[in-house]
């Protein structure tokens, strides 16, 4: 084979790999991006029906209830302006607490309940998921996130 043909072969092969890779990536990207919405956005019907997304905020104090004989729990997530009821079946992460920040992934039911498939753990007691902190901050511009976090820690 002549060097030029060979080089051409390499270029074609390289482009083919890149093409396949980009197709895979774009396809996977499209179907697997998970968007984040705050309770206010969900209440304003900005969130999609039937497609998974994430919500974040604070677990409203006193909102956690358990169904007897199953692992299903109900709680409400709030950004202090709006509140979304959430149901979840499974084990809650260690640091899930009322009054604390939380991020949940799932779909919105027709009745307005968020059916979580995953409730995300925090790794540190003082730490609040930024997405959750952001939602609260946006809903409550006059109060800084920092004080919110401290007050929620103090009220525990």
């Amino acid at each position: 084979m002549k060097p030029r043909t060979r080089r051409l072969g390499w270029i074609v092969a390289g482009l083919a790999v890149l093409g396949v890779a980009s197709a895979l990536v774009l396809n996977a990207f499209q179907s697997n991006l998970v968007f984040f919405f705050s309770p206010s956005q969900v209440a304003a019907h900005e969130a999609p029906q039937g497609r998974a997304f994430r919500i974040g905020g604070l677990v409203e104090a006193g909102s956690l209830t358990r169904e007897p004989n199953s692992l299903t729990v109900h709680f409400r997530v709030t950004d202090t302006a709006q509140t979304i009821p959430v149901s979840y079946t499974g084990m809650l992460p260690d640091l899930f607490k009322e009054g604390k920040g939380v991020v949940a992934q799932g779909t919105l039911g027709p009745d307005g309940t968020f059916h979580a498939s995953e409730v995300l753990a925090k790794h540190d007691e003082n730490y609040m998921p930024p997405a959750a902190a952001d939602a609260v901050k946006k809903a409550h511009e006059q109060m800084s996130t920092k004080t919110l976090v401290t007050t929620s820690t103090a009220s525990k």
Partner: protein, 667 residues
């Protein structure tokens, strides 16, 4: 006094590093032997000073000196001694000091093990590493001083994050950093070669063992982190495609490409530019990983309270290092040349294809990791890219790479006739196909994905065996022992690492295919059957711990009525922080683990004597995942033990820079 001593040593280290990073480079440019000769002593002095600083910090932690802010926020007098030691790198400041220590250590190692390197090259290598040191020392001193005092001193420390109070904390970070930072040596060699304008087989031979060692440490570090997440978080997963995991995985993928590309450059003089580029890329990704993890842009167990100046500092440093080295590469790459030619089907072409696949896979991980950060930074909304993305992109890209692993070592350099490949590999292909058809059925349920994964694994096993068989058959030696001895340690290292990949693939395939996960509510005395095993929840009782209160559950595991094991998972509440922690109980076995962890009491008033939410997992062959990783790392260490590297060094010094050595034996 001790913290001030450490702080002072660190300042001196910065000054020495500045000398180390500039004077030998000037010496190399002006041919001034007195400046060249400074490389070694400055590297060693810098190392000694950083060691002193680090020992001072460790002493402050172990001696509970709560007048040091870092100690007061990350330790506690109740903390067991080994975790007080590990807390040295449990904070942002401490872990950056560890990074710096590792860098100084690698530089020191280069200064010790390179007696036969030409002085100009050595001076450049050590200088480049010195410049990186300057960046990190300045970062530690100006933005993350680990010795900052707390006035007045705290009476008690705030404690180390309970998640980090684990034996994993003692070894995972040092191993990972050994790997991360080790790529700086390959990077420094690449830049030194570019500066000198002479890239040849000698350069590759020099940086090869360093790169392999760094890669082996990184492999161990990642495997340890994965194993730690498996047993400590109570989720039973071994890989989450978490950005922090990706941050360590990207340098690994690039490093894997690099060690293969270096082999080609050393043996055949080919891929020269590509190898240099990979060396720059591997270390750049290590820095990027450090930036991602340390700047606070990511949220995970590794991210500490973020300080914007730190992020800006690392980002600028990143831009200088990556931009500078790529600019140097661009200006010199034309001189480097492409190297020897080879045919479409040859060992070179397969290694190149493997390289391209690894780098494309790395790119897809990079995209999935950075895209959400970009969107967020540009205020275009918050998104997350979950495991399904990575799964659906990564596995299709890796499958052909795994297949090529079987062909590459058998293919001849320069040109590999297809009929010969077919003759040698057809039985390996047969073994793999038969295994793929039969083994899943034996394990209970046949599924295409499991069959495909096992096909790849058995293909790797069988073809690796064929590689060795062919090599022994064509050996001129008599007798099996002599034939075995005739091959080099690096050859066996390669085989072992490839077998490790096969073992890893078996683990991943069978866990993904056959794992059973059940979350159940159990009353004391109740039994649940999972995957043929009866798990009886005896009850949960409270008990004390060294620095926590625990509730311990008891589970009896039976199969066909026979008691196999009693498992005791724990739920802990740490005294200092009040933070809860789940400790899973795992019955580890070579054919699979039985995994039980406690959720929370679900009876009224959270009565611990009542019912609990319980997680029960069966994880077939999961330990093969880490076993495979350790085999890979072992293969790496074995390859480095090759006598060739030591002998070649001496033999070659005289003939250094004489150009490409062609026609080396195919090992």
């Amino acid at each position: 006094m001790i913290p001030e001593l450490g702080h002072f040593a660190l300042i001196l280290a910065l000054l020495v590093a500045i000398a180390q990073g500039t004077l030998p480079l000037i010496g190399a440019a002006t041919d001034e032997p007195r400046l060249l000769a400074l490389a070694r002593p400055t590297a060693r002095a810098q190392f000694a000073l950083v060691v002193i600083a680090w020992v001072c910090l460790a002493a402050s932690f172990m001696g509970n000196d709560f007048s040091v802010l870092n100690v007061a926020t990350n330790s506690n007098s109740e903390l067991p001694l080994r975790y007080r030691f590990a807390a040295t790198w449990g904070s942002h400041e401490g872990s950056m000091l560890l990074w710096t220590l590792m860098l100084a250590g690698w530089t020191f190692a280069v200064s010790v093990f390179s007696r036969h390197l030409p002085p100009v090259l050595l001076a450049r290598v050590i200088s480049v590493m010195g410049l990186v040191s300057v960046g990190f020392l300045a970062f530690v001193l100006f933005t993350s001083n680990p010795f900052e005092r707390l006035v007045p001193a705290a009476a008690e420390g705030r404690d180390l994050n309970p998640l980090l109070q684990d034996p994993g904390m003692v070894i995972h970070p040092p191993m990972l950093y050994m790997g991360y930072v080790g790529f700086s040596v390959a990077f420094a060699f690449a830049l030194a070669a570019l500066l000198g304008g002479r890239l040849d087989a000698t350069w590759a031979r020099w940086s090869r063992p360093w790169t392999t060692v760094a890669w082996a440490f990184l492999t161990i570090g990642i495997a340890l982190g994965s194993g730690w997440a498996y047993y400590t978080l109570g989720w039973g997963g071994w890989w989450f495609w978490d950005p922090v995991e990706n941050a360590s995985f990207m340098p690994w993928l690039t490093g894997t490409a690099l060690i293969h590309s270096l082999a080609v450059t050393e043996k055949r003089g080919a891929f020269k530019s590509w190898t240099v580029l990979l060396a720059i890329l591997a270390f750049s990704l290590s820095l990027l990983g450090t930036f991602l993890v340390r700047s606070g842009v990511l949220t995970s167990v590794h991210a500490f309270a973020s300080d914007p100046t730190r992020g800006v500092f690392i980002l600028s440093f990143l831009a200088v290092v990556i931009g500078g080295s790529l600019a140097l590469f661009a200006s010199r790459a034309a001189k480097v040349g492409l190297g020897a030619a080879f045919s479409m089907i040859s060992r070179e072409s397969m290694l190149l294809a493997n390289n391209v696949l690894l780098i494309v896979a790395m790119g897809s991980v990079l995209l999935g990791t950075l895209y959400p950060l970009f969107l967020d930074a540009l205020n275009l909304g918050k998104i997350s890219v979950g495991p399904p993305y990575f799964d659906s992109v990564f596995f299709p890209l890796m499958a052909p790479a795994l297949f090529l692993m079987g062909v590459g070592p058998i293919a001849r350099w320069s040109r590999a006739p297809v009929p010969e490949l077919w003759t040698r590999l057809r039985w390996a292909l047969g073994v793999a196909v038969v295994a793929a058809l039969i083994v899943p059925a034996l394990l209970g349920r046949w599924s295409p994905l499991v069959a495909f994964g096992l096909f790849l694994a058995f293909w790797i096993f069988a073809s690796t065996f064929e590689t060795l068989r062919g090599r022994l058959a064509s050996s001129a030696q008599r007798g099996l022992a002599a034939k075995l001895r005739a091959n080099s340690a690096s050859y066996y290292g390669m085989l072992l690492a490839h077998l490790g990949v096969g073992v890893f693939v078996v683990g991943v395939t069978l866990v993904k295919g056959y794992e059973v996960e059940r979350d159940v509510k159990l009353d004391p005395g109740e039994t649940v059957t999972v995957g043929g095993y009866d798990f009886r929840f005896v009850g949960a009782v409270p008990g004390p711990g060294p620095n926590y209160r625990a509730v311990t559950g008891t589970f009896e595991v039976r199969k066909d009525g026979e008691l196999l094991q009693t498992l005791a998972p724990e739920k802990r509440i740490y005294n200092a922080s009040g933070q809860p922690m789940t400790i899973a109980a795992i019955d580890v076995g070579i054919f699979g683990d039985r995994y039980v962890s406690l959720g929370e009491p679900v009876a009224k008033n959270q009565d611990i004597a009542g019912a609990w939410a319980i997680r029960i997992y069966l994880k077939p062959f999961i330990d093969w995942i880490w076993g495979g990783a350790f085999l890979m790392a072992l293969g790496g260490f074995m390859a480095v033990s090759d006598r060739r590297y030591r002998l070649a060094i001496r033999r070659r010094t005289a003939a250094v820079w004489t150009g490409v050595r062609g026609g080396a034996p195919a090992d």
